[in-house]
């Protein structure tokens, strides 16, 4: 009979035996070695029916099609821009995907996006060689002006956004800051200096405690404590 050797939400390290037996299935972050199911990375154990999988706790961002990310312009060419995606791979933004305006051939592209500018864009395609194409045409995609950008572990982004955006909306409302969260771990915040700092503290708190339960309430409490004028309404 199969035996599961770890508990749900336990931390597991590479090489650790998670389960023994042929009717437990190896999910993401695990592999089968004969009778054993073994951890293939550092991660948080998640039991999903008869599948054991590991949730990553760290690791650099891996670009995926359709992700909305925040990039920095690192090169301006003749018909496009090269972007730093905060991963091992840069992305290309070509003229035709840059804006809904018409760009003349031979135009000076720096007037649209210049070296050092941060932009919110969407990944259109990632090849097997990790060549990445992005677009700026889409709702919410734009150049970022003002505000500041912080970096978090990309694995924590889902928690920072929350179910249907509920977590990040709560922070935005409480701190009256504009916040855009990139799937690649870059986050843009724009508001009053002290409020920006509070939003950042809340985000860092979520990052540090991302897999504890009751996190939403904890953050709600933290924000209310530090912005006493604002009572937070949750749906």
């Amino acid at each position: 009979m199969s035996e599961i050797k770890v508990k749900d939400k336990e931390i597991s390290v590479p090489g650790e035996v998670l389960a023994v037996g042929m009717d437990v299935l190896p999910g993401a972050g695990t592999y089968r070695d004969g009778e054993k199911i073994v951890a293939n990375r550092l991660g948080l154990v998640m039991m999903d029916g008869r599948t054991v999988k590991l949730l990553p706790l760290s690791g650099r961002y891996m670009p995926r099609t359709n992700d909305t990310i925040i990039c920095k312009v690192i090169d301006v060419g003749f018909n496009g821009w090269r972007l730093d995606t905060n991963s091992a791979y840069s992305a290309m933004l070509s003229m035709k995907d840059a804006t809904s305006e018409f760009i003349q051939r031979g135009a000076n592209l720096t007037q649209y996006y210049d070296l050092g500018d941060h932009i919110v864009c969407q990944i259109v395609n990632v090849t097997s060689q990790k060549l990445i194409d992005v677009t700026m045409k889409g709702p919410g995609l734009r150049k970022l002006k003002g505000g500041r950008i912080i970096e978090v572990d990309a694995n924590k982004v889902p928690r920072i956004i929350g179910k249907q955006g509920s977590m990040v909306v709560m922070i935005k409302d409480a701190t009256r800051c504009n916040i855009i969260v990139g799937q690649n771990g870059l986050i843009w915040i724009d508001g009053e200096p002290m409020n920006e700092m509070l939003a950042i503290q809340a985000i860092r708190k979520i990052s540090a405690e991302s897999h504890t339960s009751g996190l939403t309430d904890k953050i709600k409490g933290f924000l209310e404590q530090n912005m006493p004028s604002k009572k937070i309404h949750q749906d």
């Binding site: 990375r41 706790l57 690791g59």
Partner: protein, 236 residues
């Protein structure tokens, strides 16, 4: 003459005191510290990240690049001139070979995973300490790894087989010494680093290899705990 008792009083199969900690270098993607006796190693991992120059890129996989370096004040004798030596370059190479088998970098073509090992203090067993630190740092960096890598120096002093040679044994003046660093993948028992200085018979070597699994599993337990301790607050 026989080696009746170890110079520092340890049992023949006893390691020096071990300390390990993960996440000690905030700027790195993964990092760890590993101390065995007075030998102390830091490892920092950056990657997968962009690789320059382009000719070093491999379109089929990411590459692993390791660098072992002793800080100038780390030796118990004279100062070590900075800038590395042939010895440190060779250790960088065997370290890379020791770590590569557990990694799968095929999902990261054209990129590099950089491992930097620095030792503030060395007193025998430094390459093994570096490998132990590096493997924790790689796991901390969230890379796909089918196992950790654990390493320690085995050896023979005069007529006794010993575990974890220290400096006084390495330089034992009264008889022959064999120094045999071994790195192992704890889950599979496979060996990824094997070097030797000195004289042993084949039987003695196979006996040491037989002893190595249990000893290296003890190191694996310490590495495991260090990794879990870093994320302890994350569990419920």
């Amino acid at each position: 003459m026989t080696y009746k008792q170890r110079i520092d009083g340890r049992k023949f199969d006893e390691m020096r005191k071990i300390e390990a900690k993960v996440g000690v270098i905030p700027r790195a993607d993964g990092s760890a510290m590993f101390k065995i006796g007075n030998t102390w190693a830091y490892a920092a991992v950056y990657g997968p990240r962009n690789l320059h120059p382009k000719f070093m890129q491999d379109p089929q996989t990411g590459i692993l690049r390791c660098s072992y370096n002793m800080m100038p004040f780390s030796s118990s004798g004279e100062r070590v001139r900075p800038g590395g030596s042939r010895r440190s370059k060779e250790i960088s190479l065997v370290t890379q070979k020791a770590l590569l088998p557990v990694l799968n970098l095929e999902d990261y073509p054209n990129s590099v995973v950089d491992v930097f090992i620095e030792l503030p203090q060395t007193e025998a067993g430094s390459r093994c300490a570096g490998i132990c630190a590096a493997s924790m740092a790689l796991a901390d960096a969230g890379l796909d790894m089918k196992d950790l890598v654990s390493a320690v120096s085995f050896g023979k002093v005069d007529d006794k087989l010993v575990v974890d040679l220290d400096y006084s044994e390495e330089s034992y003046p009264d008889a022959g010494v064999a120094d045999i660093p071994i790195a192992m993948l704890p889950n599979s028992g496979k060996i990824s680093l094997l070097q030797m200085d000195g004289e042993v018979t084949k039987e003695e070597l196979m006996k040491l290899i037989g002893m190595s699994k249990k000893v290296l599993m003890d190191i694996y337990e310490v590495q495991k705990k260090a990794l879990k301790d870093k994320y302890k607050g994350v569990e419920d």
